[in-house]
């Protein structure tokens, strides 16, 4: 047994050596041939890493927002599978009042509205999103104040023209200035800056610091001129009462909207798990799509390897003849060419992994997401590239092994 083992080691060492030599003799050709595999594997690594990064990021954000967060948003009424009503016109400010008054399980309730506006200061001009909310909005959405103060209940009731601004807006409108107490104009309405928010960094869905927060009443009635809310954010008192709170919200909302028994809800209550599911289904679709592209590129890469191996077999017909003459079996020649093809595709795979990891690191860094590289994915990528080599290298290798030594030796 040890002698057989020794022989096998000896044999594989020689196969490895001869394959390396042969591939290095045609460096440029080997590199170009492996390019398909490099791109395929690189694409797989990049897309899986980004997908996982996005997931981790969403999970991180959701847990930072608190597991107790529930979102009430309008839903299109459906009749016979056809969307009947446009969204955004079912949630009224009174709904938020009713939830606050009638659902004991809730700790905080905030009406939410949004408007995209041009914001102008003496020194700058910036287009950004104005978010309207209640004073509790800052807690519910996990905003921390950097300087100044947030607005209070009476300012919400009075539709006060006060604003709390994010760090990006600070940089754009008040370079090297203290923004507190300064006047800005949002759309055509003058506001006073009363506070600034701590930096959150950018993430999935854009730069989180590019924001202005004002009382919802001011945003709704003075800026966007609408009557309906975009959503209502609430936080339950504890994770244990989430289910009860959801049910209570639903019944209160149905009464508020005067829905009869049998009529469908014109709103929906989503918890964080629902949101996560939505987000992952989007990334999953993206992953599948990119996976298909990667698969096609691996296929094309494999065909490239088969092509160049066929060329190589023809070019080296004489060499094959010599090897057969001095005692090589057909299986020896088959192994030699198969090892060469697998080595080519495996080298391409490893190079592709390196490039993929590099690109993924770059992209996730730019998007402000964590870089997640799973060893399993690397292993699968390596396995796949090796399999491509075996699959596409087999036919040329068989062709080489079947050569007649006499003909091969005579080949010019």
């Amino acid at each position: 047994m040890p002698e057989q083992l020794l022989h096998a080691t000896h044999k594989w060492k020689n196969l490895f050596k001869s394959a390396t030599t042969s591939l290095l003799k045609n460096r440029m050709r080997s590199l170009l041939t492996a390019l398909g595999i490099i791109i395929g594997v690189g694409a797989v690594i990049v897309m899986v890493s980004i997908g996982q990064g996005v997931r981790a990021n969403i999970q991180g954000r959701i847990s930072s927002m608190g597991a107790n967060l529930l979102t009430v948003s309008p839903v299109r009424a459906m009749t016979g599978g056809v969307s009947q009503q446009a969204t955004r016109n079912t949630l009224k400010p009174e709904d938020a009042e009713a939830l606050r008054a009638q659902v004991q399980e809730l700790e905080a309730v905030s009406a939410v509205t949004q408007s995209r506006q041009q914001v102008v200061s003496r020194n700058g001009n910036w287009n950004t999103t104005i978010q309207g909310g209640d004073p509790s909005y800052f807690d519910i959405r996990n905003w921390t104040l950097d300087t100044g103060r947030t607005f209070n209940e009476s300012e919400v009731r009075g539709r006060a023209k006060v604003a709390v601004i994010g760090q990006t807006v600070v940089t754009q409108l008040f370079p090297n200035q203290n923004p507190i107490g300064q006047q800005i104009r949002i759309g055509t309405v003058p506001f006073t800056v009363i506070g600034t928010l701590e930096e959150k960094g950018s993430g999935f869905g854009g730069n989180q610091d590019d924001v202005v927060i004002a009382p919802w009443s001011t945003v709704l009635y003075r800026l966007s001129g609408e009557r309906y809310l975009q959503s209502i954010n609430v936080s339950a008192a504890s994770p244990d009462v989430m289910a009860v709170a959801e049910a209570r919200i639903q019944s209160v909302m149905r009464v508020q909207h005067g829905l009869q028994t049998g009529q469908a809800d014109d709103f929906e209550v989503q918890n964080q798990a629902d949101l996560l599911e939505t987000a992952s289904s989007v990334t999953q679709t993206l992953t599948l799509f990119l996976g298909a592209i990667a698969g096609i590129s691996l296929l094309v890469g494999g065909i490239g390897i088969m092509n160049i191996m066929l060329v190589s077999v023809t070019e080296r017909t004489r060499e094959i003849g010599i090897r057969l003459a001095v005692g090589a079996r057909g299986s020896d020649v088959l192994e030699q060419f198969l090892v060469e093809a697998v080595m080519l595709s495996l080298a391409g795979g490893i190079l592709g992994m390196g490039i993929g990891v590099g690109l993924a690191a770059l992209v996730t860094n730019l998007m402000g997401m964590p870089l997640v590289i799973s060893p399993l994915v690397l292993l699968i990528a390596a396995g796949f590239s090796g399999a491509v080599g075996v699959f596409f290298g087999y036919y040329p290798a068989r062709k080489a092994a079947a050569l007649d030594p006499i003909e091969a030796l005579r080949y010019e």
Partner: protein, 264 residues
């Protein structure tokens, strides 16, 4: 797998025939009976089309006869599979070709090591030591790192001879080994073959040149697939002596005529 025939002939054939099939079948060999004993140095001669290449391919276990029997060192070859013939080549044969057939861009040592890659039974315990030994034997012990393109034709053929020796074969088959060499280098190569033969090697050499056949000990002549002449060489030449003459003389032409005057 060995046929139970108790004899010590390196080669023995009985009524060997080879027909290339086709619209008009070609009878390349029509019944060859040949016996070659250990230590012989045999020249197979004949014009092109005489069947000597076909015979060489069959004796080299590269081809199989259509009819007849062939024993190589006591092993019946006729019924063997492709793999079994490959193993037999690996164990018992060494090839030297007209065009050298060395691997390009591969150094001398690796070229000589090539047959031992397929030495399944590990008959040669230390391949590299064996390769160095045979390269020393052919006088190229100092050229281990040279690639074929850096060697002269004569040196390349000596590498090929070393390659044929490295697996310690029963029989060396040389197919027109001097065909691509000039006169002087040819004589050098034949001197080497004569030395190896003197040391006990059995050599079968295919040639169409009488001058080359004269260095062998026996000549077998083929015509139209049949042996028409099989006899010891009457006035065998000593290649080493011819080489000395070549070195001593001033004009190559004069030497050439003096060596080969017999058939001029």
């Amino acid at each position: 797998m060995s046929h139970p025939i108790p004899h010590t002939d390196v080669i023995r054939t009985e009524r060997l025939e080879r027909v290339y099939p086709g619209a008009e079948p070609v009878h390349a060999l029509r019944g060859i009976d040949l016996r070659i004993q250990r230590g012989e140095f045999v020249a197979i001669m004949g014009a092109s089309g005489s069947g000597k290449s076909t015979l060489m391919n069959i004796l080299g276990c590269l081809d199989t006869p259509t009819k007849g029997e062939y024993w190589l060192d006591g092993v019946a070859v006729s019924g063997l599979s492709r793999d079994e013939r490959a193993d037999l080549r690996s164990r018992k044969l060494g090839f030297v070709f007209q065009g050298f057939n060395l691997l390009a861009r591969t150094n001398t040592l690796d070229n000589v090591l090539l047959p031992l890659l397929y030495d399944r039974k590990r008959r040669i315990a230390d391949p590299e030591a064996s390769a160095r030994r045979v390269l020393d034997r052919v006088g190229l012990g100092d050229r281990l790192d040279h690639e074929p393109s850096q060697l002269s034709g004569g040196q390349q053929q000596r590498v090929a001879i070393a390659r044929a020796l490295v697996n310690d074969p029963t029989l060396i088959l040389a197919d027109e080994p001097t065909g691509n060499l000039d006169t002087r280098t040819s004589v050098e190569v034949m001197a080497l073959f004569q030395e190896l033969n003197a040391e006990g090697a059995t050599i079968l050499l295919v040639t169409h040149e009488l001058d080359i056949a004269r260095y062998c000990s026996r000549a077998v002549e083929l015509r139209d697939g049949l042996i028409i002449h099989d006899a010891p060489i009457a006035n065998r030449r000593d290649a080493a002596a011819d080489l000395t003459m070549l070195q001593g003389n001033t004009g190559l032409g004069a030497v050439h005529s003096s060596i080969f005057s017999s058939h001029a």
